[in-house]
Symmetry: C2
Subunit: 106 residues, 2 copies
DNA sequence: CAAGTTTATTAGGATATTCTAATATGCATT
DNA sequence: AATGCATATTAGAATATCCTAATAAACTTG
């Protein structure tokens, strides 16, 4: 099975390609956090959060480690944040463009 | 329906999260190309390529326009290339790390 | 206008994701 | 040992994605 570069790239993109998982990564900008905090922020079912964390970990985006009674998660590659920043610029630019076009119609 | 920023980010990530679609975008670094060229490069079914192009266009990643008998496609936001570059660095770094760990075992 | 090119669309089955609810696991504390 | 927390795993239904094969649509050209 010839695993090519774009397969690996696609794996990561796919792992990130869900609103909840984007939010999880976004919430980890400040560093490690325990599942309980992540859950509290997302306001979603515990098992659901756990599953999304597992997806991100399986793709290598997150790392984790037990710390006492809690489990801490963190983002493995800081580049992921750049990636989200770039993406944000893109959508902001796009929305701005749409607003501009609407203005012309008015 | 409250469409938030991370929904839009996730839409783009999801659209890019397939090996074939990564390859398509990668092939458009040089600028516009017609479907026939893209197809020839990918060596995949015509309808399959057409569907992947549609996914990328629906997500706003690609634009397209008829040009005579051909249809040309291009990448709308140049940031997408930066995104793929960042991703490539990530996977390369990861692979290097794995190789390093293997070396220790040997 | 008939025929050929290029691309898009549809249909359908196989597989994968996603969510909720229930249950299990691993530690800590009592 | 029993109980309580924090997290993971499993099961299962609903939905989405992906591919192939067939067909349609839009042009161009003879």
């Amino acid at each position: 099975m010839g695993r090519e570069i774009f397969d690996l790239q696609a794996d990561i993109l796919k792992a990130l390609g869900h609103p909840t998982r984007v939010r999880i990564v976004e919430g980890l900008r400040g560093g490690k956090r325990c599942v309980c905090e992540i859950m509290a922020e997302l306001q979603l079912e515990q098992s659901n959060v756990s599953q999304h964390l597992a997806v991100l970990k399986r793709a290598g985006v997150l790392g984790s480690r037990k710390d006492g009674m809690k489990v801490m998660y963190w983002v493995n590659h800081p580049e992921v944040f750049d990636l989200l920043d770039t993406l944000q610029e893109m959508v902001v630019r796009r929305v701005r463009e749409q607003v501009r076009l609407l203005g012309h119609v008015k």
